[in-house]
Amino acid sequence: MSLLTTETVAQLTQEIWAALLAAEGLPELPPGELPGNEVLAMTDISGEWNGTVCLSCSQIAARHATCTMFGIPDEELTEADITDAVGELVNVVGGNIKSLVPGPSVLSLPRVSEGDEGQRLLLGHLELAQEVRFSWMAEPVVVSVWTVPSPD
């Protein structure tokens, strides 16, 4: 039985938000489109299991996360800070999801883009395996796990 379920992804996401962003009990959101101007972060799992873990959120949520992690006010943020903080979030999410899929496998370094549909197109050949959507500080956040389709 696979450990990669909606429940396990939701649970580890909650744990990561609690540990890194001091956010407890995030309400889940129903499926739907995210607003524009979003930030997309990805990391790949390669090995016995192959796929990509994505974290997408609004620009506002990305800025909130960055302020919390760096402990600085919004007006002091740089784009590099946001890329670094959101990249680390997807790195931690990806590392924990790696433990839910068959191994051994390795995790790539994270990559982050903003409002870039090109990155999203890279997911075009993958299948959505799991997705959780939740609200954090009244902003939507989506964690999704994409896998390489089986050949049959």
């Binding site: 990561i16 540990a19 890194l20 402990g71 903080a85 931690v92 924990n96 790696k98 433990s99 995790l107």
Partner: protein, 142 residues
């Protein structure tokens, strides 16, 4: 306590440094990868403790641990791996290479403070110098 934080995320280095300051660290140096850590260690006093991520560009954390254990003047540095690598085999590899403690991300502040306490670095009750054990015991797999 002198500390070295090695992580390719500046956000994570900031979080770890914040906790180290609470634990009484009076000097904290930061490196973005293993190679940069080696360059930093080449100058000045070696740190008492190093917090080391695993997955980093240029030189990863496991290679850094091996390098730290090869050089006599760096062998006294207590090493805590702080990483998302949570497979048992990886934990064993890191401890076998010379890491003393292993902390899986995400972690809360108390978990890191506990690891530091195991290594003899106690959080001071009043601002000032922390207690530093002359010799810390061997690592634990936790």
């Amino acid at each position: 306590m002198r500390a070295l934080v090695v992580d390719d995320s500046r956000a994570m280095r900031t979080i770890l440094s914040r906790i180290l300051r609470k634990a009484g660290a009076r000097e904290i140096r930061e490196a973005a990868d293993g190679q940069q850590a080696i360059e930093l260690l080449a100058v000045g006093e070696p740190p008492d403790v190093a917090l080391v991520d695993w997955n980093m560009p240029n030189m990863n954390g496991l290679d850094l641990v091996v390098a730290l254990r090869r050089k006599a003047e760096w062998r006294r540095i207590a090493i805590v791996m702080v990483t998302t690598e949570n497979e048992h085999s990886q934990v064993v590899r890191a401890l076998a290479a010379g890491a003393h403690e292993y902390l899986i991300k995400p972690f809360d502040e108390s978990a890191l403070l506990e690891k530091l306490a195991i290594l003899g670095f106690q959080m001071p009750e009043e601002p000032g110098e922390p207690e530093l054990a002359d010799n810390f015991a061997g690592g634990t797999l936790s």
